[in-house]
């Protein structure tokens, strides 16, 4: 709309200029023809003309062929107060694939990720699907209340009309809580489009939420003499139900001695480790 207005005004301007160059109307009728004159003397050669103006720039060349890729960036923000995020699995895939399903037992990849923090098996499992397109392992810890690095993923442009985003990342001061996205629809994004997701928190259902130093890998357990890899993945599935569901939050030892006794006296977590949804923000942008 704006462009057409500009074009229109340019045209009007040009036509005004053309009118200004026309006949001024003061010229009278032509007079009678006079007698033929004598031939004049030959003139001198004229001076050389001035150099012509430079030619206009040529049109831009067409974009090179790069396999017709669609390129996306993904940035994760940790919205919690005291729950660092373990490295994140960031996966783009077609519809039909799920890394996990609410109400169903978690895969081993989800269990290892949610209990110990390593997302590489979640990515491996996705790569075994025919719906897989691309993935990144963010590789580092994302501290609480901070924005993560921008990750870049590339998929064939033909798949941009049927695209899903799956992300999993562990809340490390928990037994088996993770946040992310479960096959969020990011189809049909135009170049320059962004989508923002505020994410919920799941319980992998693979480990009892004892909140002890020996069962959580994060710094809270570390401060209590546990934590680390030894306190991460344990193949035993001893949760109330072996099924992925939304997390109820950590109980912590707060109020364990209050008359309410609602706290969990054996928890090494404190009230600061509590969280509410959403626990992360995910922004995906198509850049090409």
């Amino acid at each position: 709309m704006k462009n057409s207005i500009i074009k229109l005004s340019t045209l009007l301007l040009l036509s005004a200029l053309i009118v200004a160059c026309g006949d001024d109307g003061d010229t009278g009728p032509a007079g009678p023809q006079g007698a033929a004159g004598m031939d004049g003397a030959d003139g001198m050669d004229g001076a050389d003309g001035a150099d012509g103006a430079d030619g206009a720039d040529g049109a831009d060349g067409a974009d090179g062929v790069n396999g017709n890729s669609a390129v996306y960036t993904v940035q994760i923000t940790n919205l919690t107060h005291a729950q660092p995020f373990a490295p994140a699995a960031v996966i783009l895939h077609e519809s039909g694939f799920y890394s996990f399903m609410d109400g169903q037992p978690a895969s081993m990849g989800i269990e290892v990720m949610a209990e110990g923090g390593d997302p590489s098996m979640v990515i491996d499992e996705a790569m075994n699907s025919t719906d897989f397109l691309d993935a990144q392992n963010s590789g580092g810890i994302l501290p609480p209340s901070s924005m993560g690095d921008v990750m870049t993923l590339v998929v064939p442009e033909l798949d941009a009309d049927d695209l899903r985003l799956t992300i999993t990342t562990m809340l490390v001061n928990t037994n088996d809580a993770f946040t992310g996205l479960n096959a969020a629809n990011v189809s049909d994004m135009a170049v320059g489009d962004s989508k923002t997701f505020m994410t919920v928190t799941w319980d992998a259902g693979t480990e009892a939420n004892t909140e002890t130093a020996a069962t959580m890998p994060g710094p809270a357990a570390g401060a209590a003499g546990g934590g680390g890899a030894a306190a991460g993945y344990d193949p035993t599935r001893d949760d109330l139900a072996d099924a992925v569901r939304l997390h109820t939050g950590v109980t912590t030892s707060a109020n364990a001695t209050d008359p309410s006794r609602e706290g969990l006296a054996t928890s090494v977590l404190g009230e600061a480790h509590r969280f509410d949804n959403p626990t992360s923000r995910v922004v995906i942008t198509r850049t090409r």
């Binding site: 923000t77 919690t80 107060h81 924005m147 109020n255 209050d258 309410s260 009230e271 509410d276």
Partner: protein, 271 residues
Amino acid sequence: MKFSKLAGATLFALASVSTTQAVTLDIEITNLTQAQSFTPRLVVAHDATVDAFEVGETASTALAWLAEAGVIDDAQEPASSGENFEAVLGPVDTDNGSNTWHRFGGLVAPKATLSYPFDTMDKPYLSILSMMIPTNDAFVGLDSIMIPTEPGTYTYYLNAYDAGTELNDELNSARTDVVEAGTGNALGGYGVPGVAGGGAPTRIVDLGMGGTGVAATVMSGEVEDGTDGPVHIHRNALGDTDNAGGASDLDSTVHRWLNPVARVVITVPAS
């Protein structure tokens, strides 16, 4: 109710005759919590250069005034002059170039709904902020949504954020047995520890008195006024069930919430 709304809308329509294309939205806000009241609402229409709050970034002083004391402008609290959102944004109800804003006064009681007309003066984004009381520095926020242009009704659910400018000690500001460490200042609003707004007329229960502190602990009648990081999603009040003791002066069976804490319905009128 309907008649007064209509009259308000007509008044605004007349007032905005001189400005072309101005859109007056109807903004309805509902408090979804059971025991948290919302302080006067800051409603800002703005361009991309204005960011009232950003998760992962340290709160501005203006945000601290709003989140710790519910203060937006000089008229509410002269001591905030030069530091509040009025100082950051410019005069109220004015096209300040990058923004226009209004303070919708009064409290939104738990479970209550209020609605207002708001002239966006053609700014593309909308943000809403309001302190939740009784808390230390919790606020409900609508974070720079793009204002819809198609006539219709649009619904948004808002989360509770922690401004991070005050430790969540959960101590009743009415207490005289506890003061700020170092200064001896009484507990209360901006710049000092303690939960503001405990005595609000919209309160559900009276706060307790004998708590020893949650995220900051009372030592010899003093409590520190610390910070707890960049703006983030609030981890919820803790509370306890001991009104005369325990850690908190809030009640765990009354004052807690889960997100979302507010619903905002924006109506874009047919032009």
